[in-house]
């Protein structure tokens, strides 16, 4: 009898260690729903998904970096830069306070593509600084993040705009951020598309496997014939593109943009990835995990606001969750060995 409870206890512990993330999220939802049953509605789900969408895209970019055992602090500022660049190009010609005076309505593909190319270039710059100049990734991206923010502020401050928040977008652009099809927001579909794309890339292509190998043991990967430079350039470029895409959608979703958009997103993204099971030392990370990681943070902010808990407390809860998630994760591997 004693033995059987012992075994059961062990089983429960192992179950919790392996699925802690899901347990925590469900418990959180249960508590919130208990206090305010209206929380369990399609409208709320839609809102949470919509708010999570751009965050998911940023976190996916961050995940590439973490799997390859890198670090990237430039994500947030890149989101801001892309938001401002795309916003400045997406304004309607009829808007009274335009960024570019006397411009025609540009096809909305133009702001999207220009921003994404800017993201790609900055991502490649990050990759080159890390992979060729051997600057530690933490420092390199800290540098580029300041650099980008500076550039963005200069651009945003160009006359006649002089750091006025952007607005007056063409309908097609705001529709991209706020519209939906069959009740599902476009941006959620785009985020979903990104997730599927990243999932296939990481799990079903040789390139994806090489990223895991480089992050898991760079030297072993090098001796196995993998081109480390190529992989690092790829992950930072890919991250840059995803950040930029998130920035464009953020501008479209909010119908505005300032140079302070995206501030702090990089740390949220890292937190989501870590909570979602990515290892800070590289080689580990899944799309599903990161998805749940992002969702947890958004359920916390939305849910706690929903039941009237102050945002100060939300940060307290988030902080605890980050530390607890990693503490659990570390134990997961310890029990196996």
């Amino acid at each position: 009898m004693v033995q059987s409870t012992g075994v059961k206890k062990k089983f429960n512990k192992q179950f919790f260690l392996n699925n802690g993330l899901y347990v925590v999220m469900l418990a959180l939802i249960a508590v919130i729903a208990f206090i305010s049953p209206k929380f369990l509605s399609l409208v709320v789900l839609r809102d949470i998904l919509m708010q999570s969408s751009t965050r998911i895209i940023v976190a996916l970019g961050c995940m590439f970096i973490l799997i390859a055992a890198g670090a990237d602090l430039s994500g947030g500022r890149m989101v801001g830069f892309a938001a401002v660049v795309s916003g400045s190009l997406a304004q309607a010609s009829t808007y009274s306070n335009p960024f570019f005076v006397n411009h025609a309505d540009l096809p909305i593909l133009v702001p999207v593509l220009v921003s994404v190319v800017v993201g790609l270039i900055i991502g490649m710059m990050n990759g080159y600084i890390v992979a060729k100049l051997d600057v530690p990734a933490f420092i390199a991206t800290l540098g580029t993040s300041m650099f980008i923010y500076g550039l963005n502020s200069l651009y945003f401050n160009l006359p006649p705009n002089n750091s006025q928040p952007l607005g007056g977008y063409q309908k097609a652009f705001t529709e991209l951020g706020a519209g939906s099809i069959a009740g599902i927001p476009f941006i959620t579909l785009i985020a979903l598309g990104c997730m599927v794309f990243v999932f296939i890339l990481l799990n079903k292509t040789c390139l994806g496997k090489e990223i895991y190998a480089v992050g898991g043991n760079e030297e072993a990967a090098k001796f196995s014939g993998i081109n480390i430079f190529k992989i690092q350039m790829f992950v930072y470029s890919m991250a840059g593109v995803l950040y930029a895409l998130a920035g464009v959608l953020e501008a479209a979703r909010t119908g505005s943009a300032t140079s302070n958009y995206g501030a702090g997103y990089e740390l949220d993204a890292i937190a989501s990835c870590i909570v979602g099971g990515c290892s800070i030392t590289g080689g580990v990370g899944t799309v599903q995990g990161v998805f749940v990681g992002v969702l947890i943070f958004n359920v916390i902010s939305y849910g706690l606001t929903f039941i009237g808990v102050s945002s100060y407390w939300q940060n307290v809860v988030k902080g605890i969750i980050i530390v607890a998630a990693v503490a659990i994760d570390v134990r997961k591997y310890r029990t196996k060995s």
Binding site: T205, K209, E210, G216, N217, A220, K222, G225, V284
Partner: protein, 509 residues
């Protein structure tokens, strides 16, 4: 030898882990002033037993006595306070700090000025010098540990154990990274310690060493005690038989390979690094096993890594099948059908958190991606699994399944996975750098057999080895390196320890 000589006694020790009985009624008696060798294959329970003796693990059952008095260890600090020290296989010195700080870390000599403890640098220096003097060590206590070689660090660890006033020092594979000369220095220190009455528990796979320095030998198998013997009643064959539990008549397989035409020819290869290899020329034939001997620091690994495209070459040429080739990266080398099984399995071999499967297909997947891809450039998991299973089977790799993370496999099995990784690239030239380092006797024999089979199939094998018996037992021909030069070449059949050592220690003759 009376009972009173016994300084450490472990009686009927059991240790259970969830689902495994790692130790089963193991007893051990270690006498004052003796070297007690502990032997057994990997997984026999030697390390577990020693971790119990050093307070890292708590035995599930059994008793421990020190100087005849029953005791137990709460933790390693407690064990050290009671006179037990352990020198681990892998060292973790604080590289950025000085030698003396490393020795006294955690109990730095200090003076108290008011409530503040101030480090007494002079006392620390003096005590370190005295400590080293007692051990005939010539190391500057103020030097940074990071500037010292691995072998010196090993000796420092021993000095540290002595400084704790250890009665028993456990040494886990202390010579695995030492050259022959350094090993001699270690043995001299061990002899000194014996005279001082210190007991040494010595874990090693190297049989010659064991027979040379130990007084008693305890052999373990599968978590149980096989027995303890006086060392000079034992022979290598007896030890092996008792370790593996079956007759092992040969340590090396019969070789049937016949060397043919020249496969790889290296001419006048010189490194860009002036301290590395210079003007190296050698060749290896099809179906030949070429041994490469030398001391640590002879630049053997560097030479092979240069041939493999990882290190830069200043001048010289590499010909394969008579055709000159340019190899600038590992992928160039793989394309030219060269494989390199590296010496440092952990740092340059395995990707620890990835599965056996991912580790096996790593090189082939990169070099011959199309073989695993559909027309949409997506990977076909079945093909990758088939390739992996083929080698799990043919190399008899022991793993729960191919999705198991490679870090949970034993060293020998990890090595076989890595060998599989390279065989998948269908190499013609295999460079094996210390292929059996840290691997138990049974797995060693398996690796030798695979080498023989590959050579018989006409592949060229270059084997770097620091083990003399292995070098002589497996090579058709041996080249010896010293300080970056090739200092000798000899036939494998007529090579002797003395000849190899002579070449390894000097290239100016």
């Amino acid at each position: 030898m009376g009972k009173s000589d016994v300084v450490l006694e472990m009686r009927n020790i059991d240790k259970e882990f969830p689902g495994v009985k790692a130790l089963n009624h193991v007893s051990l008696q270690v006498r004052k002033g003796t070297v007690h060798a502990l032997m057994g294959e990997n997984g026999a329970g030697k390390s577990t037993l020693m971790k119990c003796a050093f307070g890292i693990y708590h035995p599930s059952a059994g008793e421990i006595f020190i100087d005849g008095e029953k005791t137990e260890f709460k933790n390693t600090r407690d064990a050290m306070d009671q006179g037990i020290s352990m020198i681990h296989q892998e060292l973790h010195p604080i590289n950025t700090r000085s030698v003396m700080e490393n020795i006294w870390v955690g109990r730095v000599p200090h003076r108290k000025i008011g409530p503040i403890h101030v480090v007494d640098e002079r006392k620390m220096y003096k005590e370190t010098v005295e400590l080293f003097k007692g051990l005939n060590l010539d190391i500057d206590p103020r030097k940074k540990v990071g500037e010292l070689s691995v072998s010196i660090c090993q000796l420092l660890e021993i000095a540290r154990a002595v400084s704790y006033g250890a009665k028993v020092i456990i040494m886990d594979e202390p010579t695995s990274s030492l050259t022959e000369t350094e090993t001699e220095i270690l043995f001299a220190i061990i002899k000194k310690l014996k005279v001082q009455g210190v007991a040494i528990i010595y874990i090693s796979h190297k049989m010659e060493e064991i027979l040379k320095i130990s007084d008693e030998v305890t052999i373990m198998r599968d978590g149980s005690l096989v027995g303890s013997w006086i060392a000079n009643e034992l022979t290598q064959d007896l030890i092996v038989t008792r370790m593996v539990g079956r007759e092992m008549t040969q340590r090396f397989p019969q070789r049937h390979n016949v060397p043919g035409d020249i496969m790889l020819e290296v001419e006048n290869l010189t490194s860009v690094n002036p301290h590395s290899f210079k003007g190296v020329s050698f060749h290896v034939k099809k179906g030949e096993i070429l041994g490469v001997g030398g001391l640590v620091g002879a630049q053997r690994t560097e030479l092979m890594e240069a041939i493999f495209g990882i290190r830069k070459i200043d001048s010289g040429s590499i010909k394969i099948n008579g055709k000159q080739v340019q190899i600038k990266s590992a992928s160039d080398a793989i394309e030219n059908k060269i494989a390199l099984l590296t010496e440092e399995r952990r740092s340059t071999g395995i990707v620890p958190m990835l599965s056996v499967l991912e580790n096996t297909v790593l090189a082939k997947q990169t070099a011959h991606t199309h073989k695993y891809q559909t027309s949409l450039r997506l990977l076909v998991d079945r093909k990758r699994a088939d390739d992996t299973l083929q080698f799990v089977d043919s190399l008899s790799i022991k793993t729960p399944n191919i999705k198991t993370q490679i870090q949970y496999l034993s060293g020998g099995n990890q090595q076989k996975v890595l060998l599989g990784r390279w065989l998948l690239t269908e190499p013609e030239i295999l460079i094996l750098d210390e292929p059996t380092r840290g691997i138990d006797v049974g797995a060693k024999y398996e690796i030798y057999t695979i080498m023989e089979q590959l050579a018989s199939q006409g592949k060229s094998i270059i084997m770097i080895s620091s083990e003399m018996t292995e070098l002589m037992g497996m090579s058709d021909r041996i080249i010896v390196m010293c300080e970056g030069y090739i200092s000798g070449m000899m036939d494998g059949k007529t090579a002797t320890d003395e000849k190899i050592m002579h070449c390894a220690s000097s290239h100016r003759n």
